[in-house]
Amino acid sequence: MSGTITKVSGPLVEAIGLADANVSDVVRVGKQRLIGEILNVKGEVASIQVYEETSGIGPGAVVETTGYPMSVELGPGMLENIYDGIQRPLPEIRAIAGELIARGTEVPSLNREKKWDFVPVAKPGDKLGPGDVLGTVQETSAILHKIMMPVGLTGEVVSIESGQHTVEETIAVIKTEKGETKELNMIQRWPVRIPRPYARKQVPAKPMNSGQRIIDTLFPIAKGGTAAVPGPFGSGKTVVQHQLAKWSDVDIVIYIGCGERGNEMTDVLMEFPELVDPRSGQPLMKRTVLIANTSDMPVAAREASIYTGITIAEYFRDMGYDVAVLADSTSRWAEALREMSGRLEEMPGEEGYPAYLASRLAQYYERAGVVECLGSEGRKGSVTAIGAVSPPGGDISEPVSQATMRIVKVFWALDSSLAYARHFPAINWLTSYSLYMDTLGKWYKEQFGEQYTANRAKAMSILQEESELQEIVRLVGQDSLSEADRLTMETAKQIREDFLQQNAFVDEDAFSSYAKQYRLLDMILKCDEECRKALEKGAPLEKLMVLPAKEKIARAKMVTEDMVDSEFTAICEELAKQAEEAAAGGEE
């Protein structure tokens, strides 16, 4: 089925003669065979968005439909790979086309030559439904890939093969209820814009441990939850995203570089194979899939990239894994949407964005969640979606930020003034929030007892109090504060500098376990308590402010995990002693 181009305007192409094609079908444009997608059809004319640069395409050129919608190939071989926005493997494009991305390069998403060791789980005679596991493949040393029955297929296993197979070879034959036989291989195709089905959705109840103190302790995100990281440029959005990709306790990470810098993707590509997951002991790359549509790559594919990412995430979720999808940045995706909308001459909504911006964003984030997967095993999996937002000028009153804030449950607001003071991560503790605190509270209580949440509440109130006291200091100076208030300011400073600040580039500090986070905050609050006691006994404030043990607290975050218990206990004892001495000295 082929048609003819009548109009070319940037990435938008119009063609006639495609009467049989469906909306959303993938097409091949011109002799360069560029990949495109049919956006809408008016009478004879189909509007096509082309995912590659259309330079050199003109009226008269041929358009062929492929007859299927924009889809991804799901199967072994996705992990450790880096794809472009429409799931073409970039290393293979490089092998064919060199350093630059030439147009119309056709490469299968999954490697067709590589053989995988397929271990059957199902036996001939088993009756299987959608989502039931046929067998497994050890895809990387960290991840066991489960080959599942495709959605919509029920039947009896006639035969199943074990041993070395490529993704295209038949591994099982299924006889359906209607008596048809189906040969299955390891590839499944799924249209990216349609969420993959599941049995039931559940309310998220477990936190995702990110190893980042301000996130885990103050503004936690649940596994299966949604979060946004808005911030002006230079406030460290990407570093936060990278940290989450590195240290989150999920099984799989999908990192989508959507309209961002090429070097950032290179950084991930180079760094992740070297970094070791503190939980599994395996290189982080073994659990990671990268999707890259850098800012110089075609804008139309940017729109597709986040769908490609989340569909792959859902596929791993269906195997029963916890998956995190990090999209950096959703603003660029929205801008891509705006650009296509403008070329389609649609009526613009706010700031030129299409009127359907908010609903598209909501649809995307709604694909996150904790689910009971299809299949008789009763597997549970989750997709956690975290999106960076790049508001123009850092002003979150703009449409993308606002539409995102209406949907997500966690909001990590990055602040440029913190970034200027090199307070990283520059998450503002006064404007950020997490709506999971209540649902996760139970979990924290079970794991760490009452004190954990009590400490969190206390730390938050001290920080809040500090901001009020700062107002006063700004008006009338520090001397007007009572000694107790000055101590509060001092403790708040300790919480900020010694607890919330975390250096992503120092090995000892980049990841903090729950235990370390808890002990560190607890120590700072104990210090506050001891000082307050001493103050009441008459110890001079000046002396308490510069207790030598405080310097040790300041360096405590650099203590390695195995030494936390012994060293922290020692610091606490030292501190109590020094505070007492100060009090005793005050009485004399």
Binding site: K7, E99, P232
Partner: protein
Amino acid sequence: MIKEYKTIREVVSPLMVVDQVEGVTYDELGEIELPSGEIRHCKVLEVDGNKAVVQLFESAQGINLAQSKVRFLGHPLELAVSGDMLGRVFNGMGHPIDGGPEILADAHMDINGLPMNPASRAYPAEFIQTGVSAIDGLNTLVRGQKLPIFSGSGLPHAALAAQIARQAKVLGDNESFAVVFAAVGITFEESEFFINDFRRTGAIDRTVVFSNLASDPAVERIATPRMALTAAEYLAFEKDMQVLVIITDITNYAEALREISAAKKEVPGRRGYPGYMYTDLATMYERAGRRIGKNGSITMIPILSMPEDDKTHPIPDLTGYITEGQIILSRDLHRRGIVPPIDVLPSLSRLKDKGIGEGKTREDHSGTMNQLFAGYSRGKEAKELMTILGEAALSEDDKLYAKFADQFEKVYVNQGNETNRSIEETLNTGWNLLKILPKRELKRIKPEYIEKYLPQD
């Protein structure tokens, strides 16, 4: 066979509609022959059936609907490249204007380039010593980085850019170095300042200049930076040179983009700039970098003047989201006579962490850098407080911090345009300043480095 069309239907500068065309493709380059025989250039923006909308690269003046002829050349706008470009001056469309001969082309390259495969980028990690402390010490530039200078009208960004071009070097390395300079809509005087500076230091022989001055057509500015980048790519990746690209002023480029967008009657984005300006700027900035298996590199320093010194204006804003940091000049420091007036707090180099430390600069670099930032930031806050409440309201520590902030500006930042500080000198200057603060406040530096580097009086 190239067809000639005498079917221009409409000219509304900078756009033109040509009718009854055949076989014309998107983005194709066209030539317009005026009745006088003069040749102008255009590119195809849209083809709808047999009607082509083209964008002129030069002025529309003198185009006559009946007599002007249009030819479509079957390829996009290209630049003739060769190693002989070094030492030459071209106009904004890539033609020599220094009186020398035309370039004998080694190759013709599409000025739009192609996106670089992220899987074939080499991560920039080699420290470039610019000799400017505020950059080397705190916002380190690395080879293959794109680091813009955010300036404002009347600020000395040209002097700083020239200083960087003059002093920049990679330590312990003798690779061939080239400068590609693109003047985009700037004045003759500013352009001459750069060219004279290159001449004075002898750099002119390894410099390629593309010059679109304020008096040249605005639409040509769309092509000028791309010409420069194409030349840079050729020198870096075909000739293995280390190329520094300076583009000034991006604001003029963005304005030309807005002009064309308005002519095309597109839905405007913020402040009338087109919604695709981010993508458009990115396709230029992202051409900086290094590639696996190639010796050469492109390091880019675009200069832009922030309208009303406003960093949230779309031009600096979108630039900041693409580039790997920014060097921001401050009017306040400039007024106080600090040269160069770099405001280090909002300035940033995103790639610095991989380019500093042991084996690259010195082991104590990262810690002292963070300490200087934190100290200066707190010192500035203390000074603000002091102006409101007087010195008495400050704590003893805050007084020291205020003193530190003053000294930091006077000694560390204010080095002048002719001083070339080595990285050792920069780091030691930092340590000398840190002496002002109480030792217990130096929390961001490892104790062993304090032992080793903090000067004992």
